[in-house]
């Protein structure tokens, strides 16, 4: 039996229940919704445009994007131990600024924090889904007054160390980025709006991908469940099929035993072992004998079929010329053809490539087909067996030139000039016990097993069989068998056959 590919193991339910971030589970986090590199590019571009340092921080105060390097003045500040300490304190405050707290002084609005250098920071809350998700940090920058001047360095700077009160510090101080209050507010609002859109898109993409993944997993689980049920049903059917084949084999065997006795005694009667028979008695006995032989033939076919189905028939592959097989067939059937007045022709060139097959089984195939053809061809008709090389139908297939040589087949066409087979019936004739109509059984005999067996045997040779019409009337059974390639080694000597009802 050719077992189908093993089914995948039944899926397990997703371990964790499906959670949509920010909806069913934990609150959303900024770092999950944005691409850090892309965000950094955007922030850098804004910095170039406005000349003010910009940073985007997570709710926890971690920098997600923006320039972390110090301006020359801040660098100088941080070279001094006292300056470094003071700078760290300022950064700690601005990175964790609490927007709900009251402003520190009446002159400094919420969100603005002054540094001891005289520069300042502007912190803008970043909200998503009405929750604080991060901060936008602008600065340090010098706030330009209405007259466009930045004023002088405050005493708090010089107070930290003598060096910071010096000329160098003063020149670095004037080089600090600067902006007026309106520009800063505009910039802050603009970045917040753009980020909001980015966060929404990010959230949407996150949800979509999560949902997609969850749906796929859920569908997979459903499929696995279905597969499991199908596999169970399949196993049950396979078992039933096996039981049926066994039953058929046993019954056929049991039928054959008494039939052998009937035939034996019939023969003895005909030979006059039990006394001379008169004309009428001899005729009756003769009828008993021919009908018994028919019955035996039928039982043998049944046995063959059940063996084929249970996979106990071995096919012994060998390289052999098709012409020999066909010649054997003709020899066997010539007497029948002569008696019926039907011409029997063979056309098989000896230079045809050999095929790989079991000579005995192939003889059975062509004998069956040719016998059928004779049966359905009226006197004066013709039955022909023609062998040719061909290629499997693969017109226009990619790489045809490479693949085609491997697909060379020997095609045998068994054609008759009989009643023919209607197109609708052509595929069904290979089903076991199928008869085109019951009247033909009465006229021509047979149990409808021959072609089923032929098909199994052809398929066991990796070949195929189909029926075509023979113009103007009659049918052609076309058998294609793969040609043995020069380098091809015969496969394992014993092959099991696929089941008929597989």
């Amino acid at each position: 039996m050719n077992d189908p590919a093993p089914l995948p193991p039944p899926g397990k339910l997703p371990e964790e229940p499906f959670a949509i971030a920010g909806v069913d589970g934990s609150p959303l986090r900024l770092e999950e919704l944005v691409d850090r590199r892309a965000l950094a590019e955007m922030i850098t571009s804004f910095e170039h445009l406005f000349g003010v340092p910009i940073r985007v921080l997570t709710a926890a105060g971690k920098t997600l994007a923006g320039n972390e390097t110090f301006s020359p003045l801040c660098g100088l500040v941080n070279e001094q131990p006292a300056g470094e300490h003071a700078c760290a304190d300022v950064l700690d405050v601005v990175k964790h600024l609490d927007f709900t707290a009251a402003p520190i002084s009446a002159t400094v609005p919420t969100g603005v924090h002054r540094c001891f250098t005289g520069a300042q920071y502007r912190v803008i809350p970043l909200e998503y889904d009405r929750r604080l998700i991060g901060r936008i940090l602008l600065g340090p920058y010098l706030l330009l007054k209405k007259d466009g001047s930045a004023g002088d360095p405050p005493r708090t700077l010089a107070a930290l160390s003598p060096e910071l009160g010096g000329e160098r510090a003063r020149s670095l101080w004037t080089g600090l980025p600067s902006a007026d209050a309106d520009t800063i507010e505009q910039l802050g609002r603009h970045i917040a709006t753009v980020l909001d859109v980015i966060l929404f898109s990010g959230h949407k993409a996150l949800l979509t991908s999560q949902m997609h993944l969850a749906s796929v997993r859920e569908s997979y689980r459903e499929l696995c469940e279905k597969n499991e049920r199908l596999e169970e049903a399949y196993e049950r059917l396979k078992e039933l099929d096996r039981l049926k084949s066994n039953f058929l084999a046993t019954v056929s065997h049991e039928l054959r035993t008494p039939l052998t006795s009937i035939m034996g005694y019939g023969e003895m009667l005909a030979e006059g072992v039990a006394g001379e028979l008169n004309e009428e008695q001899r005729e009756f006995v003769e009828t008993i004998r021919t009908k018994s032989e028919q019955l035996l033939g039928l039982i043998m076919s049944l046995l063959d079929l059940s063996k084929l189905e249970s996979g106990t028939v071995a096919v012994r592959m060998a390289r052999l010329p098709i012409a020999t097989v066909l010649a054997d067939t003709i020899t066997t059937l010539t007497p029948t053809a002569l008696k019926k007045g039907v011409a029997l022709e063979i056309d098989a060139a000896p230079e045809l490539p050999p095929i790989l097959g079991d000579a005995e089984r192939l003889r059975q195939v062509f004998l069956n087909l040719a016998d059928n053809a004779l049966k359905f061809t009226p006197a004066g008709g013709k039955v022909s067996l023609v062998a040719r090389t061909a290629f499997e139908q693969s017109e226009g297939e990619p790489g045809l030139i490479l693949v085609a040589p491997l697909r060379q087949v020997v095609e045998v066409r068994v054609a008759d000039t009989g009643i023919g087979i209607a197109e609708a019936e052509r595929s069904k004739v290979f089903d076991p016990f199928y008869q085109i109509d019951q009247s033909s059984t009465r006229e021509y005999g047979g149990a409808g097993l021959g072609l089923a067996i032929v098909k199994r045997l052809v398929e066991a040779h990796q070949g195929n069989i189909h029926v075509e019409a023979n113009e103007p009337h009659g049918a052609v059974f076309v058998v294609q068998l793969p040609a043995a390639r020069p380098t091809m080694h015969p496969p394992a000597a014993k092959r099991t056959l696929p089941p008929i009802l597989g």
Binding site: P17, R130, F200, L207, H212
Partner: protein
């Protein structure tokens, strides 16, 4: 339902269920239009080219009652109606606190409405929930179309049924708030009984509902909104 004591915040998930093209998304669009700037979030729609919901729509609404002391966060979801999206519907339904079944009023859609309901029942069952315990309201949408099931018929059936039933024309915004408030009311009552929300948050449920209605721009008293159902008991199930 999620309850955050420290933030004094409760999050509920409401799902708009129903057959394909019955107007679930339109209900959300309409609510989004009604809600004030302070309450509504962005309406997120995941649609295919032909305007059909692919995974779900999501409308977050946030109501800060008692001067911002208590937050009621509502996540409104729709499910994709087409049969092929069964897995997605099941996923969206997970953790739902209440369901509004949006039915198409047309006589020709009767079968699809019933199928959507059976689908809901089955999916709730798969998620370990029972329909009998899930706050459920039913909306008969598209009342402005021809060949619809008559009001008399729906009223008669609604009286015999258990769920509050609302009539709507979602494209015009009619009946949308009623359905939403009916569902929220039923959901709150159920959560109240299981989690004693009003005690934990020290907030009066009726007051909260009134606040929500106000934020949706409706001046009609909540009682009156709820009474606009065509039948059924607007009481939570036991």
């Amino acid at each position: 339902m999620q309850l955050d004591f420290s933030a004094r915040e409760v999050t509920v998930k409401l799902v708009y269920y129903g057959p394909a093209l019955s107007g679930k998304t339109t209900n959300l669009v309409s609510l989004h239009g009604l809600a004030g700037e302070g309450a509504r979030g962005r309406l997120m729609t995941l649609e295919t080219q032909d305007d059909r919901t692919l995974f779900f729509d999501l409308l977050p609404l946030t109501f800060r009652a008692k001067d911002g002391d208590v937050s009621l966060r509502i996540k409104l979801f729709t499910v994709p109606g087409q049969p092929i999206h069964a897995a997605t519907r099941r996923l969206v339904l997970q953790g739902a606190d209440g369901v509004a079944l949006i039915a198409d009023s047309r006589v020709s859609e009767t079968q699809h409405n019933a199928e959507a309901f059976f689908d809901l029942r089955q999916n709730l069952g798969t998620n370990g929930l029972t329909l009998g315990k899930m706050p459920l309201v039913i909306q008969f949408n598209k009342r402005d179309l021809a060949d619809i099931r008559s009001e008399a018929e729906l009223e008669e059936l609604a009286r015999r049924g258990k769920e509050p039933v609302y009539l709507a024309v979602a494209t015009k915004g009619t009946g949308v708030v009623e359905t939403f408030m009916g569902l929220l009311h039923l959901t709150w009552e159920t959560l109240e009984r299981t989690h004693q929300l009003s005690k934990k948050l020290s907030i009066d449920g009726d007051m909260l509902l009134a606040y929500v209605a106000k934020e949706l721009g409706v001046s009609t008293p909540v009682e009156e909104l709820l009474a606009r159902r065509v039948g059924g008991a607007a009481k939570a199930r036991s």
